[in-house]
């Protein structure tokens, strides 16, 4: 996987999120959205370590994971516009979308709740001998949820093929994670479960891919779960209306110099810069075409309101 490929995958997520924010401002997106700007290297790197059949579970900041796993961009825009999308028919919107066709078990609006669910996918993989792994992404704040602790321990004692990716973006919602825990790195908790834990540069897709691949290999071999803590920074607020008054002056500007796309750009020579510019133009066209197509998707028929509750 070459540099422009990773760049393209990350740029798709970045541009998707930026476009989403603009659509939100324009009133085309109802409700709250949680963007992952700055964190793109984590889903893109992790996706490189996965194959078809490996399930992914994410948080409400999970658009990047959905895109990295191949969920249709037009469907995602339409779902978030409250339209009758092929993704979830307007039932899920931004914080709870999913796509079984791409083994994307979904986002979750309850912090940490995806970890027990991902553990279940790992149980299926183990009991059916499918060789699949279950990857679940959570934020740093979720490490303080009881359901996460329960699920990691459960996966550990059952040797389940689970990989927990902690996207440490410094803030748990609107509070600094350093004020919420007494340990320096969240991956230190792995020792308490008797499983491996690693800290990686979450702004480097290669570093993420390598660490996740190691954890995936271990999981596929039947050796149980691992924790990968990917250090990153959020370039935007916790949610769409968050003005981030709690962040120190200059913090976001400094993060913009470390974020994964800027990092690739900073190291690029003239030839690569030209290629990246071309990639940006293609991504821009793709995103705009997806928005146009999403606007063609009809709104759901209220007469269908009681469908899908029961089989």
């Amino acid at each position: 996987m070459g540099l422009p490929d990773d760049y393209r995958a990350m740029a798709r997520i970045r541009r998707f999120e930026e476009r989403l924010a603009a659509l939100k401002d324009d009133g085309e997106i109802p409700g709250s959205i949680h963007l992952c700007n700055g964190q793109e290297a984590i889903p893109v790197g992790a996706a490189r370590a996965l194959r078809d059949g490996d399930h992914v579970t994410a948080t409400y900041r999970g658009h990047g994971w959905a895109l990295a796993r191949g969920v249709d961009m037009t469907g995602l825009f339409a779902e978030m516009m409250g339209r009758d999308s092929a993704v979830n028919g307007g039932r899920a919107a931004s914080p709870y979308l999913s796509d079984p066709g791409r083994w994307f078990m979904g986002e979750n609006s309850i912090v940490g709740a995806g970890v027990p669910i991902a553990t279940g996918a790992a149980l299926t993989a183990q009991r059916t001998g499918s060789g699949a792994v279950s990857v679940v992404s959570i934020g740093d704040g979720a490490m303080n949820q009881g359901n996460v602790h329960e699920a990691i321990n459960l996966a550990a004692v059952l040797d389940l093929p689970l990989v927990l990716v902690v996207e440490n973006n410094v803030y748990s919602e609107m509070s600094r994670i350093e004020d919420m825990v007494r340990i320096r790195q969240l991956a230190e908790r792995a020792a308490g479960y008797g499983i491996p834990g690693r800290v990686v540069d979450g702004n480097d897709p290669d570093a993420v891919a390598e660490a996740v691949a190691e954890a995936v290999t271990r999981a596929r071999e039947g050796s149980g779960p691992s924790i990968v803590e990917a250090m990153t920074e959020r370039l935007v607020g916790h949610y769409s209306g968050d003005v981030q008054h709690y962040r120190p002056a200059g913090e976001i500007a400094a993060a913009r110099e470390r974020e994964p796309l800027a990092r690739i750009r900073a190291a690029a020579d003239a030839a690569l810069t030209a290629r990246l510019d071309a990639v940006d133009a293609e991504v821009e066209a793709e995103v705009e075409a997806a928005v146009v197509a999403a606007r063609e998707v009809p709104f759901p028929d209220p007469a269908t309101i009681k469908e899908y509750v029961y089989v």
Binding site: G120, E150, L154
Partner: protein, 326 residues
């Protein structure tokens, strides 16, 4: 073929049937494998089916109910045991926010074919955290099916129905009924989900009950018959799907309705039955709907205090007399 089994043995037989006949079934919970369950519901199953199919979990209700959901979404058919129904409250997020919603929120692209098996209700000396009747909490939640078997045969049939269902089902058994014995049709075909049952015919009043209050209602009907009052008793069996047609048809015959449950009064599922009767059976009713329920207090542990809280046959009989006198 019909066998005489205790209620708890019928549960065991239904689980054995599920593990035997469906290779996608797995069973897990606390102390269910090697120990065989605190009430013996899973006795012998680990030896027969092995650790791949039935295994013990840490004491982590949220963790293993979420695991049940993820496993159900990806191809297994898990049955997760909550030891005491009270402990389901520890895992309410997974039950209410996750298990109940995934099918709807994915527009039917995922489903959650799983069973949450638990036992509920009071027993002598059990405290407020081991005595809840939880059915109204789950019947209130769209997406969940709710089953409350009252006989050994229903314990067998309804659990099998729950396992076969593609919807998530909460099966709440009655701990106090575990020792009761009755005929169990072990070779019956699996029943479709739902369906109330008239378990005693009568012309003067209808009693709708479920779980432990069904035998209490039948005992009340015996007492009332001696007084010349003929009581029709309906075992509601499933709160979801709710078979109100059977209730409405009975009220059309009797003109009087008493709803009896062990859960406390306010917001109990009896309120739902009463409301449905008021809106759908108003012309048939010759007296106000009466409810028999526990008073709105947490369950005390001392038997002398429990006696003041737990509804029994005499409370049902008195409620029926009250409606018939009007």
């Amino acid at each position: 073929m019909s066998e005489s089994l205790r209620y708890i043995q019928a549960v065991n037989a239904a689980l054995a049937w599920s593990l035997e006949s469906r290779s996608d079934t797995v069973y897990f919970g606390e102390d269910v494998a090697l120990p065989g369950g605190p009430f013996g519901a899973t006795k012998g199953l680990h030896k027969r089916f092995g650790s791949d199919r039935i295994f013990d979990t840490p004491i982590s209700e949220t963790g293993f109910l979420g695991m049940a959901l993820g496993a159900a979404m990806t191809g297994l058919r898990p049955i997760a045991e909550i030891m005491y129904a009270d402990f389901s409250f520890v895992a309410m997020d997974q039950i209410v926010n996750q298990i109940a919603t995934i099918r709807y929120s994915s527009a039917g692209r995922w489903k959650a074919p799983l069973v949450i098996r638990m036992q509920q209700g009071y027993s002598p000396g059990a405290c407020a955290q081991h005595s809840h009747s939880v059915e109204a909490y789950f019947a209130h939640t769209p997406g969940l099916r709710v089953a409350l078997p009252s006989t050994p045969d229903d314990a067998y049939q309804m659990l099998r129905t729950a396992v076969v269902s593609d919807d998530p089902v909460v099966v709440a058994e009655a701990r106090m009924l575990y020792p009761t014995r009755g005929p169990v049709r072990t070779d019956a075909p699996v029943e479709p989900i739902g369906g109330a049952r008239v378990v005693r015919d009568g012309r003067d009043a209808t009693v709708v009950a479920w779980s432990r209050m069904v035998p209490a209602a039948l005992a009340a009907a015996d007492q009332l018959a001696a007084e010349g009052i003929e009581t029709e008793v309906i075992d509601l069996r499933w709160l979801n799907p709710l078979d109100f047609d059977t209730v409405g048809a009975s009220v059309a015959r009797t003109g009087r309705l008493v709803v009896a449950h062990e859960a406390n009064l306010t917001g109990g599922f009896g309120a739902e039955i009463a409301a449905r009767a008021a809106s759908e059976c108003f012309a048939d009713l010759r007296a106000p709907v009466a409810r028999v329920a526990a008073p709105d207090v947490p369950m005390p542990a001392a038997p002398a205090l429990q006696k003041a809280v737990v509804p029994e046959a005499e409370h049902v009989a008195e409620a029926v007399r009250g409606t018939v006198r009007r």
